[in-house]
Amino acid sequence: MPAIVVEGLERAFGEVLAVQGIDLEVGEGEIYGFLGPNGAGKTTTMRMLTTLLLPTGGRAGVAGHDVVGEARQVRASIGVALQEAALDPLMTGRELIRLQATLQGLPPAAGRKRADELLERVGLTAAADRRVGGYSGGMKRRLDLAAALVHEPRVLFLDEPTTGLDPVSRKTIWEEVQALNDDGTTVFLTTQYLEEADQLADNVGIIDSGRIVAEGTPEALKEEVGNPHVELLVGEGAVPEAERACAELGRVLPPKDADRVLLEVEHGAADIPRVVRALDEAGIVVESLELVRPSLDDVFVAKTGHRLEGEEGANAAEEPAKA
């Protein structure tokens, strides 16, 4: 049975349709990356799936339960780490995890034991009795993740878990998410980072302006966009000759500068020896060679007509402010 099933899910805020009839399915034990710019509808979708917001149309089921009709059962099956790292700065890390254990119905002794285990797991034992307000961004996210794991949920929802984190903290979170998934936890994560989706997700859904515009494995999505290309640095003046030498091996793309040749090849790395041989036979010296594969950003551009990275929020309407 799929861990998450969504059919025609909609959410309107007044006149604005923030989520416009999306369909998706997440298999048990999968990491699903929900990718899109700010205001695309990622968080609104996640809030509906975690029963924090009622849909205005369509239906969704999580862990075999309907998010509207069986909201309590859904909440018992899921762990949620929210975008703002919704932590009370006046509580200590240990107090927060123990409170979470109580909220999940663990008896006091079991809650205390579980809190100790989780703080150890996320490397916060030494800081457990310090107030959360003094934690770094990475520590807060790790604490939030630990809190979401108190009851060993079947499905874990992570809303932009690494936004604003430094590369080291980001990698730590990725490793933890991967380890959880290895233990069988289904993970639904929203992100605006292409690399995060590429690194972690088994399947990716790309959302833009409230609609899913592409869905599949990162590899399949990238293949859909087109073949990889070889970027050859041949030096100024050698470009026309190099283009002639490679013309039969693939499609020559418009050059991006005066000393490079871009050649789209059908078989990726397997085509490189033929390209090198052809250039060698033509007596052209290659200073560098790189195989460039399509990225999820290319997929995003192909599907939406605008770039995801570096333009977050520029092309999509902001989600309406919460009342």
Partner: protein, 261 residues
């Protein structure tokens, strides 16, 4: 563990958190203890001769008369502080953590109210202690003191319900904080700080029908003369009315918040 026992544990845990939060955030604590204590000191020091006015109820001292008013003030500001703290939780997203847990969502409101009631209890104990230290008699003895404490604790829960409703409806700490002056207006238009008999119109009529006058008289009577059934029942009825109003408004605001997200 049964659902009821789990809910009771959740209410207890959230109440305990709410008390810790108040103690750790001075701006929440000071209106409950510091401000009313200072006002009590200023009023008893400066207006103590008021007890000699014709029509002033027979009391041992002005401090004895003022204790009920100070407890009421502390209790109402505890309700206001509880509302502010709840709104801060909403603003920073902490309530989303609670709403995403498999618990009855009204337990979240009840947890907050349990904390506010505990702060009301603390305020009642504080002012009774001050009264005793500075020579005020509790004419109703230990039963009278316990009745005053119980009424203030229940009133804190009642007023906290209204604070929680406003917090849930607006989700804005500054809106709830903006009600602070209103709390004082409601109190000054009751018999909390001045006998109703000595007020002038229209304050006198407003105070006559102000439910907080009934509560303050229910708290004051066991302190200045002894337990009186009529005043006690009127106070209990007023508190019950405000509790019903607060819980009703909170339930409605909670439904609205869950609907709009």
């Amino acid at each position: 563990m049964s659902g009821l026992a789990t809910s009771a544990r959740v209410v207890g845990a959230l109440g305990a958190r709410s008390i810790r939060q108040t103690f750790r955030r001075p701006q929440l604590m000071s209106p409950i203890i510091v401000f009313p204590t200072l006002l009590l000191a200023i009023q008893t020091g400066g207006a103590g001769a008021g007890v000699n006015l014709p029509g002033f109820p027979p009391v041992q001292s002005f401090l004895q008369f003022m204790l009920a008013g100070s407890m009421m003030q502390a209790m109402m500001l505890a309700g206001n502080s509880g509302g502010i703290a709840f709104a801060v939780d909403i603003e920073m997203g902490f309530t989303d953590r609670l709403f995403a847990a498999p618990i009855p969502r009204f337990a979240i409101v009840l947890g907050r109210l349990a904390g506010t009631a505990a702060l009301g209890l603390l305020a009642a104990l504080w002012f009774l202690a001050i009264g005793l230290v500075f020579g005020a008699h509790i004419e109703g003895g230990i039963p009278g003191a316990l009745l005053a404490i119980a009424l203030i604790t229940a009133s804190a829960l009642a007023v906290g319900g209204i604070g929680a409703a406003i917090a849930l409806r607006t989700g804005s700490a500054s809106v709830v904080q903006g009600l602070f002056p209103l709390v004082l207006v409601v109190l000054f238009l009751s018999s909390a700080f001045f006998p109703q008999e000595l007020m002038v119109e229209p304050a006198k009529t407003i105070a006559e029908y102000n439910p907080f006058s009934f509560i303050v008289e229910g708290v004051r009577e066991p302190i200045i003369s002894g337990i009186e059934a009529e005043q006690t029942l009127e106070a209990v009825a007023s508190i019950a009315g405000i509790i019903l109003l607060g819980l009703g408004l909170s339930a409605s605001a909670l439904r609205h918040r869950l609907r709009v997200g």
